[in-house]
Subunit: 360 residues, 2 copies
Amino acid sequence: MKKNQTVKFRNKPRIVGSYSIVGPKEGKGNFASYFNYVMKDDSFGEDSYEKAEKKMFEHAIVGAIEDAHLQPDDVNLLLAGDLLNQIISSSYAARNFNYAYLGLFGACSTMAESLAVGASLIDGGLFDTIVCATGSHFSTAERQFRFPLELGNQRPPTSQWTVTGAGSCVLSNNGFGPRITMATFGKVIDWGINDVNDMGAAMAPAAMDTMLAHFRDTKTTPDDYDLIVTGDLGKLGSEILIDLMEDNGIKLGLNYNDCGQMYYTRNQNMLSGGSGCGCSATVLNSYIIDKLRKGELKRVLFMPTGALMSTTATQQGESIPGICHAVVIECDEENVDKYYKKVSTSTAYKTTKGNRKKGE
Amino acid sequence: MKKNQTVKFRNKPRIVGSYSIVGPKEGKGNFASYFNYVMKDDSFGEDSYEKAEKKMFEHAIVGAIEDAHLQPDDVNLLLAGDLLNQIISSSYAARNFNYAYLGLFGACSTMAESLAVGASLIDGGLFDTIVCATGSHFSTAERQFRFPLELGNQRPPTSQWTVTGAGSCVLSNNGFGPRITMATFGKVIDWGINDVNDMGAAMAPAAMDTMLAHFRDTKTTPDDYDLIVTGDLGKLGSEILIDLMEDNGIKLGLNYNDCGQMYYTRNQNMLSGGSGCGCSATVLNSYIIDKLRKGELKRVLFMPTGALMSTTATQQGESIPGICHAVVIECDEENVDKYYKKVSTSTAYKTTKGNRKKGE
């Protein structure tokens, strides 16, 4: 039996604020001009990379609330997750906010997981204003999942570079901004890939499974979206997804792309591309939301993927399960002009999206 | 401003099935006669404790669905989390079920986090049937968070014993069973405790914060509940909570207790008591739900607590943030007699709650 994995939101919660903060390498990538804040140095003034990651989360949360023109007290709930053991970046950042908090773990799919859960809670009338946040840091991920940086290990061609960056957005029933209209909740899919340097291949089957479920449940086709974007399949993984979808009779065209594949420039030579929770989170909360606000994108199928393994599981010979959640975000066509006006009238907006800041 | 952290569910989702599986030591504790399944050996026939933990999860999920008299295909969504890095017990167990999956991380508060999120999703009409699951294993937790078992470290008097066990329940809008009427979403609270052998003290302020928010938001008092039960504050932590509440003018009486404190018998000499996600999860899904089904408890305030630290955070000198979510579960008074009848008429029920099995 094919069960419905997709929910349609009656009240279509809005993304009323967003913020992205990235590291120096990301600030030289393809989305450079869209980010709110580029750190000069990826330690962000802290004495450990873990503390820097936590500080990025705090920065992103505050930034998104400011971008929404809300007061800190207007927020009811924080939904966050990250890649670190016991999601410490999220929980330790949450300590500094006077908000109820739900910790999530969906690896690099966390941005979609938080949007899907957040939109569900708002749609049901249980909460008014929810902040979603996630991110990652190259140096914390590398030493936790792979090798100490000091070893200077060589990277195989399938490997991806964990994005140093955090993204956050504010969901609300009020205000204006792009609307979350549907969410497809993904299953855990494991096709037996066990190469921890080839995450794209491990996650592509999960992306396929969720994409098929989404098109089936909603009776849509790829042509119904201006942009279909996976999270961090990278160059190889996104090609695998295109093949897998074609095997299922669905041709993904030029409106399909992958955040990881697009992230860095060719000259940066980042092998298979970007990865990490921060990859899709910072692309969503900069480029994608900007285009949706301005009406340059009308309807986006945002589907970050996550690889759910741990070093312990890998050491015990387990393969890598993947997951992918999909969220449909649509342009709020009636209010498109407000975003053009907003740039010229609002100071708060200017200091973020308007005048991109270069960091400390 | 004191914001409302509590949601009241209009549709009052029901707990229609539950299951608990525990290790041999737990099977000799105070709740022995209530558990569905006691493992003879805590490796559960697997070659690693992590794999045993995952198998307990699978067992608990299947058991709860059977207990609800549902078919596997009736379930829409699985909500799960655990203590292991990247919550592998949950995600790897989820691999074996054809369900959409949301990974949660709330440390030992996960049972309440999953109930609160699950009840919210059902209440909003987005899902019909959701399975919530969590658990822990003494041997996986000990070697991940503290020391290799082989070291034979001495345990200080404040230390607690991670419960080996998993609990799962099925939430639904249909059927009969105890109803989830309210949930209070907790904040991350950190009072600077940094002794990883004194989790009770680290989590007690979070329990206080959520309990105060709950009584304030709902205009209830401790007298409105037959049972107020925290998750794993243990002997010391629950005394701290009683003191903290008294400082706030609220006296907790004999209807307050803590799952960790109650778990083991005096003769088992488990120092400050039980802990871990499995502690409150197995008590809820055995003793508490049993009493609620039979009408021997009418209204329970279930509030598991979690300590959100990781070894990396501790090594970097961070203190231990705590969190506590509260869920109100009420007896379905119209259907109390069905549980007495069910024991004598249903085979499925007999093989679980009726005739407790002794494991492989």
